[in-house]
């Protein structure tokens, strides 16, 4: 399978994502510059990485959302292509309207950088099929605006359609005050996934951080693309 990682001005997790996709997962991966609008149909999965695109000016992700390549990403997603947005990438997906809801500043007003326990709520998505429902993953977060908000009707929709993919294990693990401890959601069609935690930062044992749980997210994508949607999610 083939990955694309998009670099915006201010992205700082793009090389990590590239490394995990290309070297750890062993799949051909291209780095694409945000100004290069192009047909993405040769790719199986597009990664919007973490960072501080455009310095988080105005609102996180608000300006990156209008980068030329985002029209290509929206077309790609509408055609069923897999899109994963990590941290700032999640914020960009929200601003682009590819996922519902919005981000607020963390309720404790702090930038939180630590490992959290994540519960897999839906293990039947292209991004979590290598996990078990209810499994706890240890994955680091690093953000100041991850306080996910959605109105009540929207929340009911998320629940009814199994769109809550991962959440912080409990209130104590929730680093930002997000509604229902939500850490990551997908769209109704399940091909667009955004999450605040950074699976690319814990995908190999050589880092010595005691967890490789993030690898399961990337392995799920590979499984879905190579085995097809019928077997997994």
């Amino acid at each position: 399978m083939k990955f694309a990682v998009i670099t915006f001005p201010g992205s700082n997790c793009d090389q990590d994502c590239y490394h995990v996709a290309q070297e750890v997962l062993g799949q051909p991966t291209d780095m694409l510059w945000h100004k290069d609008a192009q047909d993405l149909s040769e790719y199986d999965c597009v990664i919007l990485p973490g960072g501080f695109s455009y310095g988080d000016y105005l609102r996180t992700g608000a300006i990156a959302r209008f980068s030329p390549i985002m029209n290509s990403v929206i077309d790609f997603a509408k055609n069923g292509g897999l899109v994963i947005g990590i941290c700032n990438g999640f914020q960009i997906l929200l601003e682009a309207g590819l996922l519902p809801g919005a981000m607020k500043i963390n309720d404790n007003l702090k930038f939180v950088c630590k490992y959290v326990n994540l519960e897999v709520v839906n293990a039947e998505t292209p991004f979590t099929n290598q996990c078990n429902k209810g499994e706890i993953l240890q994955v680091p977060v690093a953000h100041g605006e991850g306080n996910y908000h959605i109105d009540e009707d929207g929340l009911e929709d998320l629940i009814a359609n199994d769109q809550i993919v991962v959440r912080y294990e409990d209130e104590a693990e929730n680093p930002n005050g997000s509604v229902m401890n939500i850490a990551g959601i997908c769209n109704k069609e399940k091909n667009v996934f955004g999450l605040m935690p950074h699976p690319e930062r814990c995908s190999e044992s050589i880092l010595g951080n005691g967890t490789e749980d993030g690898y399961k997210i990337f392995a799920s994508i590979l499984e879905y693309v190579t085995k097809g949607s019928e077997q997994c999610g």
Binding site: L58, A62, A102, K104, I105, N106, L109, N147, H149, I150
Partner: protein, 86 residues
Amino acid sequence: MNWKVEIKTMLKKSILDPQGQAVESGLDALGYKNVSDVNVGKHMELVVEDVESKAEVESQIEEMCERLLANPVIEDYTFQVEEMEG
């Protein structure tokens, strides 16, 4: 004609504002015990050039707020348009 525009965005009333709460507790710590309902928003100023009617400017600003300057999911916006002299 050129127009001076001031735009204000605020979190919707129904949404808890963590910044407002922190500012409120700061004011409380300074001894201002009679302060409540603190909300923090953004103020933007800009100039729109070469548009003849105020209504046209207003509809452009409205569109700009909906598309970029505010996030309608969590924010309300208001704006004022004034004709510039000279």
